[in-house]
């Protein structure tokens, strides 16, 4: 398959890698229309639909079937349409909660920015039907977190994990998850730990991109910041990135809306340039790219040793949470904040420890084991800080 020309997927790939096929369905169809493809066999269809579900790109599969890029039997087409409908029902329920939260927070004078799924669906994809999402992510200012938490808890949402120490959320956390009718992640910033502390959170509030949901105007991050966020989300996690996230990067590249020079300026200011470059290169290699994309994006510059360590601590699943916490102190600004951050994670409150370990002593033993394992190169146990 020659992805540089954006030609249609080759169904012969299906038994080998359904993800590869789906990735090529994330970007617009080419102008030239090759010969129609024969419907895939049932076994291949099962693999394709399973991958579409797990990668959260059911709309790409259903859309390709609907517009003929991917041939399907009548039964497969019905299956794809039903899967799509179910995902969209879920998305609308989430958007219903977004409208509720927007209204509730407006009454408290709290501003929010919509992140990821809903924002990308309405602003970055050709139409919102093309992007599915499974939860609601919103950004609020650190000082507003308690008001948002109170609003959610008053409506029956339950916080998944307690705060390590009082004040940690407002100063250091990336996001706090709430379980309820839908999952709502309340963000203070865009990435966690080692790389995330580099982002000046005030930058996230300087401007916004409005969009409408059900007649109500809500705000997302502006295009360049949204694109950088998509890159962070795509690259700062164990690979491979979920295709729905990759789709946000790919859409930014082909949509001709994102000012890539502005993206580069923001990435430099946030010191996340290597992350953005690699996320873009990944999207280009995995999906398809138009001829006008600057080929320089495919040749990411070599990151510094420090950047490499920080980035890989996000991407390597075997890196322990304790190691990440230690690395994160390098990027937490200010000596006093570094001390507070480490203290909060080394000596959290009892309620926080109870959700993870039998007690404070067990937690410290666990951390020491993790750090020793990291130092000696052995595979540590997983866990969150």
């Amino acid at each position: 398959m020659n992805s540089s020309t954006g030609e249609r997927c080759d169904v012969s790939d299906l038994p080998v890698n359904p993800r590869r096929v789906l990735a090529r369905l994330l970007v617009p169809a080419p102008a030239s229309d090759p010969d129609p493809l024969v419907p895939v066999a049932d076994e291949a269809w099962t693999a394709l639909r399973s991958a579409a579900i797990s990668e959260r790109v059911v709309p790409a599969l259903a859309g390709a079937v609907a517009d003929g890029r991917l041939a399907a039997t009548a039964e497969q087409a019905d299956d794809a349409a039903d899967l799509w409908l179910e995902r969209m029902r879920r998305c609308l329920r989430i958007e219903g909660r977004l409208l509720w939260l927007t209204d509730a927070l407006a009454q408290r004078g709290v501003e929010l920015r919509v992140l990821k799924g809903p924002a990308s669906a309405h602003l970055d994809h050709a139409r919102p039907e093309d992007r599915q999402f499974g939860d609601l992510d919103v950004l609020v200012r650190g000082e507003d977190l308690p008001a948002v938490f109170a609003e959610l808890e008053a409506d029956g949402f339950q916080r998944r994990f307690p705060e390590p120490r009082r004040g940690f959320d407002q100063r250091f956390t990336k996001s706090v998850s709430f379980a309820g009718e839908v999952e709502i992640d309340v963000h203070r910033t865009l990435a966690e730990g080692p790389v995330g502390h580099r982002i000046p959170v005030d930058d996230l509030w300087r401007r916004a991109a409005p969009f409408e949901v059900g007649g109500v105007e809500v705000n997302a991050l502006d295009h360049p910041e949204r694109f950088v966020h998509a890159c962070l989300h795509t690259h700062l996690g164990p690979p491979p990135a979920r295709l729905s996230s990759l789709s946000d990067v790919a859409r930014g590249l082909v949509g001709d809306v994102v000012d890539l020079d502005e993206v580069a300026r923001i990435a430099d200011r946030w010191r996340v340039g290597p992350v953005v470059e690699r996320a873009v290169a990944t999207a280009i290699v995995e999906c398809w790219w138009p001829a006008e994309i600057d080929a320089a994006w495919l040749r990411p510059t070599a990151p510094s040793l420090l950047d490499s360590v920080l980035i890989e601590s996000h991407r390597q699943a075997q890196v322990s949470s304790a190691t990440r916490a230690v690395l994160a102190t390098l990027t937490v600004p200010g000596l006093a904040s570094k001390c507070s951050y480490l203290t909060a994670l080394a000596f959290p409150e009892r309620s926080y420890v109870a959700t993870r370990h039998a007690g404070q002593r067990q937690r410290l033993r666990h951390a020491v084991r993790q750090l020793r394992s990291a130092t000696l190169g052995a595979r540590p146990h997983g866990g969150t800080p």
Binding site: A62, A66, A81, W84, L85, M88, R89, C91, L92, R93, E95, G96, L99, R127, P128, E129, E212, V213, G214, G215, V216
Partner: protein, 101 residues
């Protein structure tokens, strides 16, 4: 949206007496089906057939009298299809998806 009035169906110069307006709802157009989230009931509605036609006319939030006029031109005033579409508009009003100003 408020205060707008539309031309009457019969083409006379008198404005329509009780224009209805769309209360916008989140929705997705899936081709042969449309799914929308009824915020009043807290549930999704799945539209097919004439419901799809009606919603595509209604969703841009035009006054419903204009939508009805377009439906009449599209389906033929007095046809069973037009009656079906009108019944669906009534249902949307009952559910609060459309409202009268």
């Amino acid at each position: 949206m408020s205060g707008a009035r539309d031309e009457p169906l019969d083409g006379s110069s008198e404005p329509a007496p009780t224009p209805e307006f769309v209360a916008a709802l989140p929705w997705r157009d899936l081709g042969d089906r449309i799914v929308l989230f009824d915020r009043h009931q807290g549930e999704e509605m799945i539209l097919g057939g004439s419901g799809v036609t009606v919603w595509r006319l209604v969703a841009p939030r035009r006054p419903v009298v204009a939508v009805i006029r377009e439906l009449a031109a599209l389906l033929g005033d007095g046809t069973p299809e037009f009656g079906e579409a009108m019944a669906f508009i009534d249902e949307l009003i009952d559910r609060g998806a459309l409202r009268r100003e």
